[in-house]
């Protein structure tokens, strides 16, 4: 699943980057979360979503520590 187009668009990418900087997160985190929500949208597909979100958050923590 590809990321939503707003993550690929130059103008919106700048907006996303600025907001992420302000909240001390990275756009990658938002992108990953969007992708998982997109993938799991629709009835019957939300099982396991919290675990996926946790995984993404943990990956962000690891990334932050490494940085």
């Amino acid at each position: 699943m590809k990321a939503p187009p707003c993550f690929e668009d130059n103008e919106t990418k700048r907006i996303i980057r600025a907001i992420c900087d302000e909240q001390r997160i990275d756009p990658e985190l938002l992108k990953d979360l969007c992708e998982i929500v997109n993938e799991r949208s629709g009835s019957g597909k939300r099982f396991g979503l919290p675990e996926d979100i946790e995984g993404i958050l943990d990956r962000f923590v690891t990334r932050s520590k490494e940085a």
Binding site: P5, C6, D9, L29, C34, G44, D58
Partner: protein, 692 residues
């Protein structure tokens, strides 16, 4: 991606056909499929919706917009109608679609969806799960159902969406011209914006915001007992905010410090310049004073001399002026006297010759007058003499009666006239020279006076510079004090920052020891804040993007009078066309059918562009009943659209062979579909098209 194969079996008029499409090239991306009305164009288009998405695709087809995904009965009925009437009952209806990555898709895999519908002996759709089955191949591999408890059709649907795109995206790529026109008439601008929200991904952002809120509520509930950690988390957040504020303050102070230092440097530079000026002025005082004094004395003397000279010249000027005035009278008098002199000379000559004339007139002895007495003779003689004199009386006109300038004779007169002119000119020139000399002398004197004044004012200028210097010194001192104070403040702030960072570190370490949930809560909260902000900022961007893209395509396709126009979508109002050349705006819906169609096509092209997906564009009857001006323009706009594959379904009166010439450089393939009445089926002829 491009549509590489479409196999239709028992689908409307298609008994068993395969459209095999070549891989398009960068320049040749257009596929033309010609078919007369009722020969299979719409069947081709609908097969893409139902083949890829089954019941989820039906409501996106023309005429099925009001259906819900759950309306299974309508779906079964619809598929029954789409099934070929003369199909053999035990043969399923099959749509087999393959989408292949083009040379531009480096990270995609080929996706093949094979959907089959089964019918009973009376061509009635089979009941329950027996009605439909779907096979999905990704990269040539059949995707097996992993979760046996899950509905296999739903599972396949999820996968199709994952590997391709969701069904709501399909109308941006598979549509007919009329459908595009209806898009605006039925959906309204809110519907259009919603479509863009979905395509652009901002809907996903909204969904994520809601998901994250739910996630936070859930995780907080799970960690409800660990109140302490939550409190610590709050303290941490507060300290982080405090640290951010402190960082901002330090940055501001450092910026102020930089400005102060810059200001101090500028003042020090100005002080140096003043010092230099002062030194230079001291030197010039001594060097120039003597020279200026001496020049002043000389100028004063020259002025006096010049005045004297002018005064004398002016005295002589009286004579010159008198002569200037009298000269014409003298000149005239001399000329008149010259005339008088000439007359007198002539008269005198005649009188002097009188005796000779008389002797000629009255000779002695005179045979003619011989008998006259001497007395009579004398009287006649006198009368002749008087008559001769009378010739010169009165003197000629303008001749003076006497001489005023009788002493000037002959050439003397010419000399006198020349001398008069010379005298006049010399005096005038002398006066001018004398006046100029006086003027120059006065100017020179003024200049030396100014120099003298400057010399006298030098101590004042020096005093002023000294005052400026004192002021600058004071300002520099003040600046240094401010800099010192600010440096201290920064030092203190940095110390606080260090302490704060230490405290933050300690709390974070403690939180980390207590459990990863707290970390997740903290990050999830930040994500939530970011998403709120993001939704707010992305909404106007999305609308603007939609307006820009739709306007671009609309202007490209629509009539020339819309060249300076743009489309505006305002909430609660129908789409409006605005003009940059001062014409009043107009509602789109008041325009002709073709303009509305142009908008529909422009909108779908904009959607396709905004999705940033390189899917095949399939358009049924794009030109409709457009006139001969619109047709090539629209066709070219479509052919030049930046996608891997553009499939145009058309009848013989729409994209005519003549019209094809306009896009022949972009055509990759042609097909001709013909319905055979006898067999009641459509035959596909590759590499054929309508003939002129």
């Amino acid at each position: 991606m491009y549509l590489s194969k479409l196999h239709l079996q028992n689908w409307r008029s298609y008994a068993d056909v395969t459209f095999a499409f070549n891989e398009p090239t960068e320049k040749r991306s257009v596929v033309l499929i010609g078919a007369m009305n009722g020969h299979g164009k719409t069947s081709f288009l609908i097969s893409l919706y139902l083949g890829l998405f089954g019941k989820f695709g039906l409501r996106h087809c023309e005429g099925f917009g009001l259906l819900a995904d759950e309306d299974y009965k309508s779906y079964r009925d619809a598929v029954s109608k789409f099934r070929r009437n003369s199909a053999v009952s035990d043969e399923p209806t099959v749509i087999d679609i393959t989408l292949t990555p083009s040379w531009r898709d480096t990270d995609e895999e080929e996706v093949r969806v094979v959907r089959r519908w089964f019918f009973s002996g009376r061509n009635e759709p089979k009941q329950g799960d027996a009605f439909e089955e779907v096979d999905l191949y990704v990269g040539g591999r059949l995707q097996k159902p992993g979760n046996l408890e899950k509905d296999p059709l739903l599972l396949a649907q999820e996968r199709v969406e994952r590997y391709l795109f969701p069904p709501h995206v399909a109308p941006a790529f598979f549509f007919d011209g009329e459908q595009a026109q209806k898009l605006i008439e039925t959906s309204g601008e809110e519907g259009l914006k919603k479509a863009v929200r979905v395509m652009f991904g901002t809907k996903v952002v909204e969904d994520l915001a809601e998901t994250m809120r739910q996630y936070l509520a859930r995780i907080r509930q799970n960690t409800g007992g660990k109140r302490k950690t939550s409190e610590q988390q709050i303290v941490l957040e507060a300290k982080l905010r405090e640290r951010q504020t402190l960082n901002d303050q330090i940055a501001k102070k450092q910026s102020d410090l930089q400005k102060l230092e810059h200001d101090k440097d500028a003042k020090e530079q100005a002080r140096g310049t003043l010092h230099e000026n002062l030194a230079r002025m001291g030197g010039s005082v001594n060097a120039n004073a003597v020279q200026i004094q001496s020049k002043h004395l000389l100028a004063e003397k020259e002025e006096a001399d010049a005045e004297r000279s002018l005064s004398e010249t002016v005295k002589n000027l009286g004579l010159s002026l008198a002569m200037f005035r009298l000269a014409p009278a003298i000149r005239n008098r001399l000329k008149a006297e010259e005339q008088l002199e000439g007359w007198e000379s002539l008269k005198r000559g005649t009188i002097d010759n009188r005796d000779k004339v008389l002797a000629t007139a009255m000779p002695e002895p005179d045979p003619l007058l011989g008998n006259l007495s001497a007395d009579i003779r004398e009287k006649v003689r006198n009368r002749f003499g008087e008559a001769l004199e009378r010739i010169y009386n009165p003197p000629p006109f303008n001749c003076p009666e006497n001489y005023l300038l009788g002493h000037v004779k002959g050439d003397g007169k010419t000399r006198v006239l020349a001398q008069l002119a010379q005298a006049q000119s010399i005096e005038s020139s002398r006066t001018k020279t004398a006046a100029k000399r006086l003027r120059d002398a006065r100017e020179a004197l003024e200049e030396t006076k100014r120099d003298m004044e400057r010399l006298e004012n030098l101590p004042k200028a020096t005093r002023e510079i000294k005052e400026q210097l004192e002021q600058l010194n004071s300002l520099i001192q003040e600046g240094i004090r401010h800099i010192g104070a600010l440096e201290n403040e920064i030092k203190v702030a940095k110390a606080s920052l260090k302490e704060l960072s230490k405290q933050i570190g300690e709390i974070q370490e403690e939180l980390a020891r207590l459990g990863p949930e707290q970390q997740r809560i903290a990050i999830a909260e930040r994500v939530c804040r970011a998403l709120v902000d993001l939704q707010e900022k992305l909404t106007p961007t999305t609308t603007t993007r939609l307006e820009t893209q739709v306007s671009k395509h609309f202007v490209n396709i629509a009539d020339r009078r819309f060249r300076n126009s743009s489309i505006h979508l305002t909430t609660g109002e129908p789409p409006q066309i605005q003009f940059s050349d001062g014409r009043p705006p107009m509602l789109l819906e008041v325009n002709s059918g073709f303009e509305r169609r142009a908008f529909g096509i422009a909108f779908t092209l904009a959607l396709a562009e905004i999705t940033r997906r390189r899917l095949p564009l399939v358009i049924d009857t794009p030109l409709g009943n457009a006139d001969s001006e619109y047709r090539p323009r629209t066709l070219k706009a479509l052919a030049e659209f930046d996608l891997d594959q553009i499939i145009i379904l058309t009848h013989d009166k729409e994209v005519t062979p003549d019209l094809v010439e306009h896009i022949k450089g972009q055509i990759s393939q042609k097909f001709l579909v013909e319905y055979q009445d006898a067999e009641q089926l459509s035959i596909v002829h590759p590499d054929r098209y309508f003939t002129a």
